[in-house]
Amino acid sequence: MTITDRQQLAYIAGQAADARLNLELETEGMVLNIGPQHPATHGTLRVIVRLDGEQVVAAEPVMGYMHRGYEKLTEVRTYPQVTTLINRIDWLGSFANEVPFILAAEKLMEVEAPPRAQWIRTILFELSRIANITLFLGDMAAQLGALTPVFYAFRDREYILNQIEAVTGGRFHPNFDRIGGLKDDLPKGWGEETKGALRKLSEFCDIMENLVLGNEIFAARTRGIGVIPADVAQAYGLSGANLRASGVDFDLRRDNPVGLVYDKVDWKVWTHPDGDSFARYWVRLQETREAIAIVEKLLDGIPAGPVMAKVPRIIKVPAGEAWVETENPLGAMGYYIVSKGDLTPFRVKIRSASFNNVAVAPWVLRGVYVPDVITILASLYFILGDIDR
């Protein structure tokens, strides 16, 4: 399926007209506000849907309830201070937020972290992914009314958070990555403990496979619902599992492994041809398993050596522009840093995955039934902090 320019324009013009009608409340259909406080939105996203009976005529996400202006704030922070802020973008996989920013700064400074730091970075990066997606795997079922999986998810996520805390001192906001390496080395015996935690998560994945994917009701509610064709996904800039569930074989861990050591181990990129809600769940489940396997392999091969390169104590980044993006739990996340050789960045453009991933919502929600709105939004999997920045 391809979409023509005219169709694309019509979608946007249609949405705009519908949204204006909604706001003025001059509609004959029913206007339903989902949010800003709704359990299915992981934060304060408000979706205005205009209904014709049970069918959605137009859906308009309203953001900004959690806009914190990070792009402005980064301009008055030194480079090491910025990581504290950007930790809070995707708060379920915080460490992963720091990495692309640090890598972009390192690129401008022409510094490279020592091999050991790169390995530990990659391990922590994948642990963030597991902690993040674990919650999705449980939560998606909760959106469909099955409350058990979400308790499993919260219980088992804790094993990973404990391991992150053991290294970084923070369960949610590690602030552990530094320009030129990492703040500290791993504690003694951490590798073995982590393998134990990963076994628990591996069991969790098996439970979810039986409990959720094997569930008839789950399949009926998700199969063929919210289909996003590959063309649409690319035009909207969808990334991560949302893109791969539409059959596009794209993973920055494999395609652009800058500064991380994904090329040192064998692993597989999972895709699904269907592009529906079921596919998005399925891909994320496989990816969690893959991430567990990646960490297990990486743990066996951590090279010895320092975890910090020689960098000046006061960090001034040379003038220039750099763009680095990595495959974060929610999708491609990147930072475009413009430096003028100062202590602070001149401009930082934050490309967060959820912003693009949710932008497709008006397109995909058009014509679906009300209960499916919740399923589709849950399967797109966004974090509000990652949309609003």
Binding site: K72, Y236, T344
Partner: protein, 223 residues
């Protein structure tokens, strides 16, 4: 650099150089600048009139189907001096306010205060490109690219509210994040960040002594 781990990319990037030559013949005088970081990345700058057509051409002819993001830059140096030097700091340290620095633009050049920039990717061949365009200071108008990439819709709304740039042909330029009645354009350099104007630089807090740190040498020795 003392580190031996630094990998030096190829000094000449033949693929990207050839690509720039191809784009140059296609775009003609619309291509006004380019910058190559060998083995890594590519920037081009086009005239604002060719902005939408360039995206369409890159999508159709070069497989750059993945729309990554669109944003803008305000190249004017902050009229408040470096934003790190809050007025409070200057008063505390007895400094005089600095004169604004000269305007310097980044890769691929630039002649105007505002530039709009976008990023596209070719997922099959794994490369990307950053496209820039100068925005005329008098009109602050750019052609919208939503007819090429529908995903640019929200990005253009964000830029419009943050920089006050008008996207010609965009049917729906309501504010995205900010309240409807918000005045001013927050990401412009002359929009003051009030918290930084009235509070001392947060780094100063670090030199406070912790309880138990009786000897100042210990605190100083910690790297």
């Amino acid at each position: 650099m003392s580190s031996t781990e630094v990998e030096v990319g190829p000094a000449v990037d033949e693929q990207r150089t050839a690509l720039v030559a191809t784009l140059s013949t296609k775009l003609g005088s619309a291509l006004v600048g380019s910058h190559i970081r060998p083995g890594d990345d590519l920037w081009i700058r086009v005239t604002v009139d060719a902005w939408a057509d360039t995206f369409r051409m890159l999508r159709d002819a070069h497989g750059l189907k993945f729309f990554n993001w669109l944003s803008a830059i305000d190249w004017m140096p902050s009229p408040f001096g470096r934003d790190m030097d809050a007025e409070v700091d200057s008063i505390l340290q007895g400094k005089v306010a600095k004169a604004p620095e000269p305007t310097v633009t980044g890769y691929a050049g630039g002649d105007t205060r505002f530039q709009v920039l976008g990023r596209l990717h070719n997922l099959a061949d794994r490369w990307g490109i950053t496209i820039k365009a100068d925005i005329p200071d008098d009109t602050l108008t750019v052609p919208s690219i939503i007819s090429v990439f529908v995903g640019a819709n929200w990005h253009e709304r964000e830029v419009a509210e943050m920089y006050g740039i008008d996207f010609a042909g965009h049917p729906d330029q309501r504010k995205l994040y900010l309240p409807t009645g918000f005045e001013g354009y927050p990401l412009r350099k002359d929009f003051p960040l009030l918290a930084r104007r009235i509070k001392p630089w947060p780094g100063i807090v670090d030199v406070e002594q912790m309880p138990g740190d009786d000897e100042p040498e210990e605190a100083a020795a910690e790297d």
